[in-house]
Symmetry: C2
Amino acid sequence: MVNEKNLTWVLRKRPVGDLQQGDLELVESALTQLEDGQVRAKTIYLSLDPTNRIWMSDVDAYLPPVGIGDAMRGGGLSVITESRFDGLEPGDIVNTGLAGWAIYNTLPGASLAKLPKLPGVPLTAFMGPLGATGMTAYFGLMDIAKPKAGETVVVSAAAGAVGSMVGQIAKIQGCRVVGIAGGADKCRWLTETAGFDAAIDYKNEDVGKALDKHCPNGIDINFENVGGKIMDEVIARLNDFSRMPLCGLISTYNATDPVPGPYNFSNLLMRRTLVKGFIVIDYFPRFPEGMQQMAQWFMEGKLKYETDIVDGFEKAPASLSRLFEGKNLGKLVVQVSPEPV
Amino acid sequence: MVNEKNLTWVLRKRPVGDLQQGDLELVESALTQLEDGQVRAKTIYLSLDPTNRIWMSDVDAYLPPVGIGDAMRGGGLSVITESRFDGLEPGDIVNTGLAGWAIYNTLPGASLAKLPKLPGVPLTAFMGPLGATGMTAYFGLMDIAKPKAGETVVVSAAAGAVGSMVGQIAKIQGCRVVGIAGGADKCRWLTETAGFDAAIDYKNEDVGKALDKHCPNGIDINFENVGGKIMDEVIARLNDFSRMPLCGLISTYNATDPVPGPYNFSNLLMRRTLVKGFIVIDYFPRFPEGMQQMAQWFMEGKLKYETDIVDGFEKAPASLSRLFEGKNLGKLVVQVSPEPV
């Protein structure tokens, strides 16, 4: 095993605007001996998330940027191949949280948790409803927005990994749910599979008019994933005492010029809106609570999900762009190695 | 008394940008007979507030706009001159809440509360620390921002009626308090009289650099009264888990073009900031709690205040501009009739 080669995507340059070829470089290295307490984790699924792009920029974000010359940071599911840590043994499957974009990661075993045994639950569910994106949706909606039955919830990037869960959890809470997504296929999936009350195709519809049509009683909750003009249209229709979990602003992550905030910012005052920025890592201590609830709903068949699987580790950087082009339906992952049988 | 004339400022045109002569007209009328349950209240102090300007515009604000041809809406302190309501008699002084810009208002007695008897407390205090602006400061800071000792609080329009109270309450809570105001006189008042730790003169200082200097540990609470570029500078320096009561955006109320929101809106996400719009009328049911606490602090000498008194009812519209030009120190009022002796 020690003679096996590793491959790692290393950050070479900070991208300006869209990620370009050459910003990341695929580097081969040898595996080293494990030290006491360490494990070797072979990536099965590498998670691609909008926040990856944030980490590449030298901005004051919620985590330090990835250093130039360092392995690109990412999460995923891995199988243990070697262990010098008592709690884990080869064959165990773990959530690697914040590791590197690498085939093999050498990690402190104490930082990893084995996936819970849930009979009949596919591994991909742990990248979606039962993974970080599911926890993001659960805590952002339930802890910040606190939906009440009968309220109207709008979610942007609705066919993405987070948005699709937000809408389905809101339906379980008895809300009217309107999703905003790009393209007829995604919108059909939202209403026909995920049970949304309505879906707005921002690429082919006037979002403002569609919101007027589908939110006749205004908007009580805006789960914000996107920012920009779509956010303006939603903010313009917020109800008094509305809530707006601020989860992502993907429309701005590739921007090279200063991005103006919402043009109707004053409506947040007039409507007495609560806006709350949050990052899912703030909720780590409460993950067991979220996992338990989401697993229950999942096993009851209430959470539909899609996994958009790209095959081949070498495609990771190019595939990240799919998120910013709105090409993915559901959770975007790279299959780096096969699921253990 | 019925033969006495009344004077009322009536809204004739919706102002475009700054309030212009002719937008309001002073109209003379006769007083009518009271009906059962009504009282006649003669205005002593008419309150001038930034929100007056909001009410003149046909925008979707927190109250309907004042109708064209209707009396301009405003609050103040009045003395009862006639009563057909059992709980009030001539000579009683009441807070008129939302009445008209008029010398006499005819009002349902049940909508009015007599000022509490607080020995040695001047009447003007009920327009400041113990009035609506004091309640705005108290609930915005204590209920939304929840200051903790040692935290850094920044307040804009700091020498205004709300801002000056926010800073002093925050000092009572053990916070470091930095005020932003326009002009050396106001800044001197903030540090020398009101006990602020520092004051930034936005008319003569680089606000960003001054914030860096006076907030070495970042900003935990931004009590926002102004909006625009000053807000951008503050948002750029917010700490993780910061709070931002959104009380006013006076820099935008006279705008004729769409106003971009904060250019660093994404920092509200990265810092996990809580932004909460609020309007003091939402706290009406809790006014007794706020009054009790503010009165206690006031009588302990912990709340300094200034009243900027304009003499003469006919000057009300022109005086409102003082708020938007940053000319007032403390609570701006028009003295309409003398305090009863």
